[in-house]
Amino acid sequence: MENNPHIPLIKLENITKTYFLDGDISVPVLKGITMTIEQGEYVALMGASGSGKSTLMNILGCLDRPTSGDYFLDGEELGRASGDKRAMIRNRKIGFVFQNFNLLPRTSALDNVIMPLAYTAGELTNAQCRARGLEALKEVGILERAGHHPGQLSGGQQQRVAIARALINRPPVIFADEPTGNLDSKNSVEVMEMFSKLNAAGITVILVTHSDEIAAHAKRVICMNDGEIVPGLFSRH
């Protein structure tokens, strides 16, 4: 592996994260994570509450910085990159899907979907933005709901709008934090099918969950316990 010139999509080297409470009480949350995720993988990050999976997810998503260690995305070290650089990476290379959807209220589905484009450096005209938004909505199958506000959409539809928003800049990787946590079983199945479809199209999907049922959709499961990856648990497939 060491001599392989191939660059993995995600490479973590001895990532630690320690929170400091009241100045001197240190709480280690991640205790040296080293792992690699290749382009096109479908990974479920599992673990009990407090195992550090959300913290790891935030570091992977460039929302948080590791206390030490290196994080390479597409071969670029990002753990110590500038805030603006990390914002650009979040905009271009990463899509987020949240448990509570996080859609802007009283804003149409289309406007929600094209919202990230406002922060994209490339100059797109308004019409181009809307065309891309409609395309993304079509991809998740709710094109006819483009003009509806989140309040007028079901939970499953809202989550699909959120997925369309994550897809708008065609990122290589999508992070989903408990994407089905607020959905009923029927909608859950639909959303999970959506992720499978995206993965089949070549997008890396990394989801955080504590449900075995959901994790079963993934091709590889990474289990976390007390800030470390539990060794020996790999893909069921």
């Binding site: 935030n58 998503g61 929302l63 948080d64 805030g83 603006d84 914002a87 650009m88 979040r90 905009n91 271009r92 987020f96 949240f98 996080n102 802007l104 009283r106 804003t107 919202m115 990230p116 406002a118 922060y119 994209t120 100059e123 928003r165 800049n169």
Partner: protein
């Protein structure tokens, strides 16, 4: 991030809460409105003050005799010396090209006037020439003014102000009636148009005017630059040059003879000479010419003090102007304080808005907004808020001043400078007071913000 997109986001988020947006801008609206109203009223009063003074005669200049000085006695008040003569007035009229009209003035106050069984002591009694009315911009309501010929012949005619018409004639037309000034009968030939109170509150209509020659000859009596003046100073006047000071030249005349005799009046004393420059920009030239003529006629050597004083109404105008400017600035200060209060209101609401939209800020950061994008968004939002308030305030202030103009009849004049300043100030207030909330928003931690409930 594109500016148009940011602007659109600001408008959308402001229009989500129209009532709150309106109430938030109220402080700015009132502040800017007050500034605009103050400026318009201030401008209006300045203009009306100028026109009042112009009505009084902006180009008019008064020449008064200087103080009398005698060795060994205190200097007396201005006008006490006998230095201005009708001949001086003639000389000014003839020799100064920048002087338009010119009139001698003799004051005759303290003499009562009688009509029928009514008496009245007018506030002002002027002996003048017909030019005086033009210099003071005074029109006649009725009848005519006396003529130059009547001045030359010491005719007993007068024009009176509306207060006297009311007091003595009970509102009847006085033209053609005969009234007495002291014990001399005068025919009323005209009535002056009412001017109302002047700027220091004196009734300008309580006035009677007669030819200066008549008033001096027949009513007030002469004060000559004269032989009987026991002064050791050498007289400046040609007629006195062969008179030995302190010695009566002629035997003393009986009082009845004195009254009947019409003196040659060229060397008699005037209280004032009033003249008018041909135009406003010629006032300075006129002052110089008049001063030169009087110094030459009075034989004052270079470097010696004038024996007359020239008073220009421009000085008075400047004084009043500075007073009204002071008042305007004071009120403007109060209005600016209300702007600051309005700005604090904006800051307060922007802070609330940042807290309310913590999740939105977190989301925007998660999808790629940089700190400065968030800062700019909130800064633009508060600026848009303040600018909208400013524009509303300009409309409101202008409306208020129009209302004041129509209801209270105050003079009001719109001021484009104030409008530009108001727009700039409201944008400035938006940036100044919006900065702290915007900065706070841009410093949020996206993870915390996304988790915020």
């Amino acid at each position: 991030m594109k500016l148009t997109a940011t602007l659109r986001i600001s408008f959308v988020s402001l229009s989500r809460n129209p009532t709150r947006t309106l109430l938030t801008t109220l402080g700015i609206v009132i502040g800017i409105g007050a500034v605009i109203t103050m400026m318009e009223i201030g401008n209006g009063s300045k203009t009306s003050l100028r026109s009042t003074i112009e009505k009084m005669g902006a180009n008019s200049v008064m020449v008064m005799p200087g103080a009398m000085r005698m060795p060994g006695s205190p200097r007396k008040e201005m006008g006490s010396a006998v230095t201005l003569t009708p001949a001086d007035a003639d000389a000014i009229r003839q020799e100064c090209p920048s002087v338009g009209k010119c009139s001698p003035v003799v004051r005759g106050s303290g003499t009562q006037i009688v009509f029928g069984n009514a008496t009245w002591l007018p506030a002002a009694m002027y002996g003048v020439s017909p030019d005086y009315l033009d210099i003071r911009n005074w029109q006649l309501a009725e009848g005519r003014c006396f003529t130059d010929n009547e001045v030359d012949t010491n005719a007993r005619v007068c024009v009176i102000g509306s207060t006297i018409v009311k007091e003595l004639f009970n509102g009847m037309s006085p033209v053609g009636s005969e009234l007495r000034i002291g014990d001399v009968a005068f025919e009323v030939v005209g009535v002056l148009k009412s001017k109302g109170a002047n700027m220091i509150g004196m009734d300008e209509d309580d006035v009677i005017m007669a030819p200066w020659s008549t008033l001096q000859m027949r009513v007030t009596g002469l004060k000559m630059g004269s032989a009987t003046n026991t002064t050791s100073t050498v007289s400046n006047y040609p007629g006195d040059r062969f008179v030995v000071s302190g010695v009566a030249l002629y035997p003393e005349q009986d009082i009845s003879v004195t009254r009947d005799k019409l003196f040659y009046s060229r060397f008699s004393q005037l209280n004032q000479i009033v003249f008018e420059a041909v135009s406003t920009d010629k006032v300075e030239d006129a002052l110089k010419e008049v001063s030169d003529v009087l110094r030459r006629r009075h034989r004052i050597y270079a470097g010696k003090e004038d024996d007359f004083h020239i008073r220009n109404s421009a000085d008075f105008m400047n004084m009043l102007n500075s007073t009204s400017t002071l008042m305007t600035n004071l009120l403007l200060g109060v209005a600016l304080i209300s702007l600051i209060v309005g700005g604090v209101g904006i800051m307060n609401i922007m802070l609330v808005s940042v807290t309310e939209r913590t999740r939105e800020i977190g989301l925007r950061m998660a999808v790629g907004a940089r700190s400065k994008d968030i800062l700019l968004q909130f800064l633009i939002e508060s600026t848009v808020l303040c600018l909208a308030g400013g524009i509303l305030g300009i409309l409101l202030g202008h409306g208020a001043s129009l209302l004041i103009k129509n209801i209270a009849k105050w003079p009001v004049e719109s001021s484009p400078g104030a409008v530009i300043a108001a727009v700039a100030v409201s944008a400035g207030v938006g940036i100044l007071f919006g900065f702290y909330p915007a900065w706070k928003a841009s410093k949020l931690d996206p993870i915390e913000a996304l988790r915020y409930e």
